[in-house]
Structures are given as C-alpha cells and as structure tokens.
C-alpha cells in the first residue's frame, strides 16, 4: 500500500463539516483571526451530513425578538419531551444564542418564510419556522469555506491523536483520503467533533436495496461517538436512542404535517387511539403523561401499542388538509426539500395524500443528540450558567482536554436541531479559541510511534482483503475476512434482537443486553479481520467500526439504567416502570482505552428553571 502521509499542523481541527462543524469553522475564524483552522470532512461539505438534501424547517428558533419564546421555555420544552433528562445548562445556553444564528442564515440567503400578516417568520409550530431549505447546506458550507484555512474533503477521520506530553489531552486526529488513500495526520491543539449522529445501528425496516432510505442519513456513522470513546472521553445518555413516527417506507418526517398542516392520526378503523393508552401510560410513567405537549416517546408508545393490538396501520389524515391547495403544496414541498424519497414512494405507489391517507410507521432507533433525544459526549457547560460540577474550564469541552463537540456529538442537548447544532459549533469554537490562547506555549507532542501504530490499524482491512482474496476462487465468502456489509448486517441484527429494535417491538431486558454485549465483543474481534476491497470499502470498514463501538456504549447505558424512562423509545421488560426515586439522573460512561473496560456512573440532573 504505497500511500503517502500528509502532515498538517493546526490550532483548531474541525472533524466533520456538517451543521455543527460549519458553525465552528465560522466562529473560530472570528475569534481566532490568526489561528490555523482546518476542517476534515469525509464527504464534500457542500452536501454532507444530515442536511445534504436540505431541510424544510428550522426546528429550533426562539423568536426572542418578537417575544415568542425565551430560553427558559426551551429548557422546559426539551426536558419535558425527554422525560426530565437533559443538560439544562447546555440547553439554555444553546437557546439563548440560536436566534442570532438563524438571523445570519437569513442574511446569507436562506429563504425563511414569513407570515404575511405579522411579518414574522412563519411558524410551523411553537418552536419551528418554515424555510425553503434546499440549499441550507451549501449556504453554511460557503460560510465555512470562507472562514477555514483549509477544507479537506474526503478525509475519513478514524482516530483522535493524543498528546504524549500531557495526560488526557487531545493532540489531533488521523484519517485517510478516500480518493487517494493517503494518510492524513492532523496535529492540532484542539479538535472540535462535529461528526453527526448514527443511523444503521439498529436494523432498518427495509433491508434490501432500500436499506439506505433511513430517516437519518446512511452516512451518519457514529464517528462522533466512537472518536471520543476511543480516547476515553465520557459519554452520557447513550441509552436514549430515538424512535420516530414517520411516513411509511420513505421515513418522511411528520412535524410539518402535525404542526402546520394540522393533519392528525387515526387507526385502521378511523379511530383516535392515543387516549386509549392513557391509563396504561399513567401506570408506567405517572405524572409525565399529563405534561404538555405529550412527550414524543409517549406518543410513540400509543402508536406501537395500537398497532400491536391489531388495529394498525396508523394513518395520517391528510385528505382534509390537502383540499387547501396551499397546504397541499406545503405537504409536497416539505418532502422535496428534505426527504425526496418520500415523494418518490408516493409517486410510485400512486399515493396522492389529497385522496388517500398515507400510512405511518415507527422507525428503528437512531442514536443522535439533537432531535427529541440527547445521546452524546459529556461536556462542560458555560461558566456563567452551569452548576459547578458541570463546568471544567471551557464550554462544550469533553472530558478530554482540548476536545470539543457540537450537535449530535454532544450529550444532553435535545431539540437543538440544525440551528442549535450550528450554534453549538459556534460555542465550542469560541471556547476552543480561548483554550488555544490559554495554552499558547504548549506544543503538540504526537510521536512517530503513535502514528505508525494507527497507520497499521487504518489500512489493515485492505491488507486482510488482499491476503484473503488469494485463498478463494471468487465471490464474497472467505474464511479469513468478512466484508463491511457483512459486519454491518451482523451489528444491526444484534442490536435489533438484543437491544430493543423493531423486530422485538423495542423490548429488551438484562439477560438480552448482557448476551448482546457478548455478541458485540466477538463482533469487535471479527472486525479486526474485516476485508476492504478498495478505498471506498475501507471507508465502510471504518464507519462500521465506529458504529460497533458506539453500539457497545449504547448497550452498556441501556443495561445501567434500570427503569423504562422512555416508553415508546425502548422498554426494559425487567423494569417496566419509570423510576424517579432511583433514576432521575443522567447516565455517564467511560471506556478505558487501555483495557476496553466500561465504567458507569450516575450524574445529577440540575433543573435550572421551574
């Protein structure tokens, strides 16, 4: 493998140029005018990440300028939706800044719809504003491109580097160029992880050619979790995977339909069904079922139970709303701007929602940190509004020195969405600049040895394939390697069956989780024997390794929390009740990088508003 090694030294390395990463690059340049700022992106930042095809709404906008919502309201909303479990300091901090990000987007050209009567941004719901967001990503990408010294597209970052002079301090990152195969070594004083969330941790509802048509993008490959975990950063709320009600097969989001178009759901017999499950939910979660709005997971619960009771499918009643031509247009454009695949499903199945009420399903679980869920790294809050034990020097810094995160990467910050993720990138970047200033005299010390060891690991899948391939005549079956797709399907099956996927109706328990961990451990061993035919498959190999490590974390967390906190996301059959006495806490894990052992702890939830 005659690949070159390309060295780069910088002050701030942004890993992943998605919503968080582009925000970080922009803000870093503002404060760090003289700093070297580099973005390493596995795809092309113009169309990378969850927002590649656009969005039709910005789901997090306070509207403070019009007195619509205050940061406190956001905190109440997010914690209520997450059954009490968010980092309220981080949530508040994001919320108080998010409006300025949105105002910038508008200045930059993002078409935000306006209410013709009030002149304000057109609300979809209390928190969401409607946009023509097809070019949302190219727009923020331009901001990043104009700010960073360098955007390295097609660099798949595989590991973080550690500074060898100081304990527990990041020293940069390493990866390879998916086109050239070259090794890229970034020695950096700070690293901001903006590598997005994770799809394909659990088995999706379509398993053939359509396995890529998941709600969250198939390229959301858990790097944001695996990279910090590999170096021993702490993670939080990784059990809090999200399940979402979605239009069948296309996974088209429902927000605009519920909130703006005022469509509603009914069972196969045209009945309202949520109220049927009120008593059951009351017995499971107590007062939480009476809070408003009904938490996302509890709405899911009613859906899942109604279908299991044999009264599915659940339909979205669109026929009424779609008689209004404006609403019909919104309904279609919502998908053309964000989930084209849903429009394709409807076109192919002759479903015109004006005449047919389309089916919904509940999705397989995703692991991410910016929707109605908050899995991610355990990070410091901002000095002025964080409880002391949640502040360790720099806003959004993880438990590894110099390592920051934003968006899906960070735990505890539910309901940030695109705008909030961008905002978090900005917050992290400003703190990173400060960190660089504070450590102006430190030099990054990453040895040849560290790099050599990683280089060997990184290319091993190519070598496995090359050697193993000679042993067999042809085809995809080898006794000495498995291909990335093989490993991925194994992972998805393990998670589905043992950790509460769709096939088991989101049910799990201690014996299942423990058995799942054994399977994951053995999968990790097999992943040492993964074979990559070419550089593209080498990317797939590393995506899979990242997913597998994140999955292990998810299972440890799920095992630790001995309650069913979010019915509708998953169920602990052995602890079917929400248990505030013991579990009104955040879960925090750490994997020892040397031994691979996990330790779990509880951390208090601070409620910062009434």
């Amino acid at each position: 493998m005659g690949f070159n090694t390309v060295f780069e030294e910088c002050d701030i390395l942004v890993v992943g140029g998605g919503m968080g990463g582009t925000g970080a690059a922009y803000e870093a340049r503002y404060w760090g005018r003289d700093l070297k700022i580099v973005v390493a992106e596995k795809a092309n930042i113009d169309r990378s990440g969850a927002v590649a095809q656009g969005l039709y709404a910005i789901n997090c906008y306070m509207g403070m300028r019009w007195g619509e919502n205050q940061p406190e309201d956001h905190v109440r909303y997010a914690r209520n939706d997450l059954m009490g479990m968010v980092r309220e300091d981080l949530a508040y901090d994001m919320a108080r800044h998010v409006d300025s990000a949105v105002h910038q987007f508008e200045e930059w050209g993002l078409p935000i719809m306006r209410d013709p009567e009030t002149g304000r941004y057109q609300r979809e719901g209390k928190w969401q504003i409607m946009i023509h967001g097809e070019s949302y990503k190219p727009i923020v990408a331009e901001a990043a491109r104009k700010s960073a010294d360098k955007i390295d597209n097609r660099i798949m970052v595989t590991h973080l580097l550690m500074d060898e002079s100081r304990p527990n301090t990041v020293g940069g990152a390493i990866g390879f160029n998916v086109r050239t195969g070259d090794l890229h070594v970034y020695k950096a004083k700070t690293v901001i992880i903006g590598a997005g969330g994770a799809s394909h941790i659990f088995k999706p509802r379509s398993v053939g050619e359509g396995m890529g048509r998941t709600w969250y993008a198939p390229w959301s490959s858990a790097s944001a979790y695996a990279l910090p975990i590999q170096v021993g950063a702490k993670m939080t709320q990784m059990e809090n995977r999200i399940v979402l009600a979605r239009f069948k097969d296309g996974y088209g989001p429902v927000g605009a339909y519920f909130l703006h178009l005022k469509t509603y759901t009914q069972n196969a017999y045209g009945e309202e069904y949520e109220s049927k499950w009120y008593d059951e939910l009351k017995s499971m979660v107590g007062p939480y079922i009476d809070h408003h709005p009904t938490p996302t997971c509890l709405r899911n619960h009613a859906f899942v139970r109604e279908v299991a009771a044999g009264r599915g499918p659940i339909h979205m009643v669109t026929k009424e709303a779609f008689q209004d031509p404006h609403k019909e247009t919104v309904g279609w454009e919502n998908f053309l701007g964000m989930t084209v695949g849903q429009a394709v499903v409807w076109a192919s199945q002759d479903i015109d929602p004006k005449y047919v009420n389309p089916e919904l399903t509940t999705s397989e679980p995703y692991v991410m940190g910016s929707h109605a869920t908050c899995s991610g790294a355990w990070a410091s809050g901002p000095e002025d509004i964080s409880p002391d034990e949640y502040f360790w020097g720099y806003n959004r810094m993880m438990t590894v020195e110099g390592l920051f995160g934003a968006g899906d990467a960070l735990g505890g910050t539910a309901h940030a969405f695109s705008s909030g993720s961008f905002t978090e990138g900005r917050l992290a970047a400003k703190a990173a600049v400060k960190y660089v200033r504070d450590h102006a005299n430190d030099r990054v010390n990453v040895s040849e040895k560290q790099i050599e060891e990683l280089r060997e690991q990184i290319y091993k899948p190519l070598e496995n394939y090359e050697i193993g391939r000679n042993e067999i005549v042809a085809g995809t079956v080898s006794p000495s390697y498995i291909l990335p797709i093989h490993g991925l399907q194994r992972l998805e099956k393990i998670m589905d069956e043992y950790a509460g996927g769709i096939t088991v109706n989101y049910m799990t328990n201690e014996p299942l989780l423990k058995r799942g961990l054994e399977h994951l451990r053995i999968l990790q061993e097999d992943l040492e024997h993964i074979g990559a035919e070419d550089l593209h498959q080498l990317q797939r190999a590393w995506e899979l390794k990242h997913r597998a490590l994140a999955s292990e974390c998810v299972v440890h967390h799920t095992l630790f929390r001995q309650e069913t906190r979010w019915p509708g996301y998953y169920y602990r059959g052995d602890h079917p009740q929400l248990d505030d006495d013991n579990w009104h806490v955040l879960t925090v894990s750490r994997r020892d990088p040397e031994s691979g052992e996990w330790t779990m702890e509880k951390a208090p939830v601070y409620h910062i508003v009434d």
């Binding site: 092309n44 993002l110 078409p111 070019s135 050619e209 998941t214 002759d350 002025d384 600049v433 990317q539």
Partner: protein, 156 residues
Amino acid sequence: MPTFVYMTRCDGCGHCVDICPSDIMHIDKTYRRAYNIEPNFCWECYSCVKACPMNAIDVRGYADFAPLGHSVRVLREEEKGTISWRIKFRDGRIKDFVSPITTQPWGEKIPKLAEYEIPDEKELDSPLLCHEPDGLKVEGGLPTIDKSKFKQGVYY
C-alpha cells in the same frame, strides 16, 4: 430510489462523484461513465442529480417498496435561485413544484471574517458570540439565569 445513469447522456465529468455524500457514484473503468456502485447506501438525496450538467442521472424508487413507472425529476437553477420538481405518478398523474433556494446571489452575502475588525481579546471571556448581541435582535442583551436557584431531583 437509488440513482442510475443513462449511458447515452453521461460524459464522465465526475461532478456526481465529487458531490455524493455516500461516495457511491463512481466512474466505470470500461465505459468511463458514472454509475451507482452501492445502491443500498444511497439516500436518494438527489445531490448528484442536481449536480449533473448532462441530466444524466435519474432515480427509480427503491425496489423494496417502490413499484416501477414513476419519476421525480429536478432542475436546480443556481442563477435563478430556484429549484423545480416534476413528480410523475405510476398512473401518469403529474405534479409540478417550484421553490426558491436562496434569496441572495451566491457567494456575496456571506462574510469573509478574516477581513473583519479583530475582536478585543477580552471578549473571549464573555458569553457573546460574533455579531452578538446585535444579531439576537433583542433589547437587554444575552439572557442569563441565576445559578443559585438550580435544583436537583424531579422538577414537576
């Protein structure tokens, strides 16, 4: 709807290869034209379709659930700032939609911050981000909250 490429239209320019977030548009070695090497990792994001100068790429819905005979075509016009869609149902019905993609000419309105005035080093300690507090468009500046009132345990 994973993508496919019409043989007679593609000229092998590679724009699709350059943009695909999933790295699955590759150039076939024999034909020197592009194709989707891994349809099961296609998200139908249409990034390649929009980027193709030859309109050579189209999509047909995932075979797992999308019957043949439909089409969803797109024309993204940067200069005009619009995107146009044509949806053809399996049964032949057609729907057209046009939306804006930007309100500004490309490449002009986004600031090059390196050219801005250098902020005061002390501002690094404030919680304000760049363009704030103005950018928030509120009076009273950045909201904050009283730490001493935080509590643990249930909030309700």
